[in-house]
Amino acid sequence: MSDQQTRQERIDRGIKVRSDGLYALMSWRELSYLTAPRFILIAGMLLLPFLMPGMYWQRVISIVCIYAVLALSFDFLAHYVGLVSLGGAFFIGTGGYSAGILNSYFAIPPFLTVPLAAIIGGVFCTLVLFPCLPLKGVYFAIVTLMYPLFMARIIEAFDIFGGTDGLIGIDSFASSFAEQYFVIIMVLVFLFGLRRFVTTDRGLIFTAIMDNDQAVKASGINITRYKALAVFIASAMGCMAGACLTHIYMWSGISQFALDFSILPIAATVIGGSGTLVGPVIGCLILVPVSELLRDFGTLRIVFYASILVGFILFRSGGIMEYGQRKYEQFERWTQI
């Protein structure tokens, strides 16, 4: 058993320990150590449109961002509130239609419809999901999986909002530049906004509810209200994404409730690293372009795509961010026992 006599131990780089918010930072080195990754991310995102070859890839970036926001909202709900929602499509669809209706029926311009859609959609989703809030775990997941199908069928059956044809001829963003930066800023704001939010006292409540809602109740806190709040935040984000999608394609239709919108963000979260909020964004930055690159394979595309997904999950089951963070904040060495 001589091989067992040594073991690999992980050691935090000093700075991490000290920068747990308890101790002030010492030097520029440490400051940069902390801020560098964030800075790189922001700068990278902002520069993306320029790095992209040609309009097409810029468009892809917009799509990436839309999925990123969706993934963010999923990650927030699932890993900070404990509500696993498979209803991404529900949010996208609701938001998409809100924007579509506002624009094509009331001729409200995109820069207004998007925020409006976020709020209206958010409220709508929250109200509709309200009765489901007591549900737990898989049950919640499945109900949220059902909702988008349900909406689609409603619209089809009652033939409202253009029925199966959907709403067409919706205005697009003023310019592709505006579109680009709108979505990119949106992602960054939500990303850092959420990261800040979950560490506030109110944010902690959500985590607490996830860990043990009984105890939260016993602390005299009405958990349903907080869950509703969380759902509102998440769905508003989702709806905003949906609204953007609508305006990018100048169209909204029942297929905005399609399963893909529920699955892909989750996939992104999984490979990016669950519960890190940054992870999902990175996940989308990988997955969406990959799926575009694979287009030339025609029918095989999805097969490859799925295989890549499985591969990722197998070999980085923790997610990219987990891994990255650990490498960044700890170093490993072999020690004698």
């Binding site: 999986l145 349900f150 069928r153 997904l309 499985v310």
Partner: protein, 288 residues
């Protein structure tokens, strides 16, 4: 009368779809989103064995069921085992596998409308003035037997009980000498076979088309969630609720509301009974 007959038939076929999923989840707590794919592939394998290679129908079925079982096990052994306990990862990876299978089939040329399996028994008979063809009867009967059998299996046989324990607390099961990984693999195998059985029973009534895979997945999830996860009985009753909801709307409201009502039924059941018809998860979780 016709409502009764077709309601029952419809419900049973739903139940059949759901069983496999319920089984796997109930036992390995893996939500097997590749369920639909397994269902479809079994159909195609049978078709190939029967139409192309020309095995007798019966053997074709047996073989393809076997193949399905093995497929399920492999899926567990090589992929799912790596993400045990990480529910979301499980969903995604199994769904991805499902995609691979389905789209793979489509790429492999299994598309269009020419794939059909013969029914077990031609002809039909009248039940209370409603014509029902034999195949549907056979399907219904087998379905019911299957559910009953499963119930007995999980509550009275050693393996069944072990599987149950596994599902609830893997580590505790380990302490009692139950090899969890083997069991889970077994469960996946079973699940896949059940999916296969369902497809063998249901597909002859229609064509084998890849798209069906997705609907089957959704439906089966719905069924066994409403029933209360891991409770076959629940799944069975849920199937009846949904099944009848569908038929009734077809008859009384108009068939393009069928899905609407079905989904509504699902959502309402869950809102009213947060852990499904038979599940007790919620009460258990909240026991302090």
């Amino acid at each position: 009368m016709e409502i009764l007959v077709y309601g029952t038939i419809n419900s049973v076929s739903l139940a059949l779809m759901g069983l496999g999923f319920a089984m796997v989840y109930g036992i390995s707590r893996v939500p097997n989103f590749a369920h639909g794919a397994l269902y479809i592939i079994c159909g195609f394998v049978t078709w190939t064995l029967f139409q192309k290679i020309g095995l007798p129908y019966f053997f074709a079925i047996i073989f393809s069921l076997g193949i399905n079982g093995i497929l399920g096990m492999l899926m567990y052994r090589f992929v799912l085992i790596r993400v045990r306990g990480m529910n979301i990862s499980e969903i995604i990876s199994s769904y991805a596998i499902g995609l691979i299978i389905l789209e793979g089939l489509r790429f492999g040329g299994f598309r269009g409308m020419t794939y059909t399996l013969p029914v077990f028994m031609e002809g039909s008979l009248m039940i209370g003035g409603v014509p029902v063809d034999y195949h549907r009867l056979i399907m219904t009967i087998i379905g019911i037997c299957l559910v009953a059998g499963l119930w007995l299996f999980t509550h009275y046989t050693k393996i069944g009980l072990a599987l149950q324990g596994m599902a609830q607390d893997e580590r505790a099961a380990l302490m009692l000498g139950i090899d969890s990984d083997f069991m889970a693999m077994l469960a996946m195998g079973f699940g896949a076979i059940l999916a296969g059985v369902a497809s063998i029973l249901i597909l002859p009534l229609g064509n084998i088309v890849v798209e069906a895979g997705y609907n089957v997945l959704i439906m089966s999830i719905a069924v066994c969630i409403v029933g209360g996860l891991g409770s076959w009985m629940g799944a069975f009753f849920a199937a009846f609720i949904i099944g009848y909801a569908q038929i009734l709307t077809v008859v009384f409201i108009g068939s393009h509301f069928q899905m609407v009502v079905a989904l509504l039924a699902i959502i309402l059941t869950l809102i009213l009974k947060p852990s499904g018809l038979f599940g007790q998860q919620k009460e258990l979780e909240e026991r302090v």
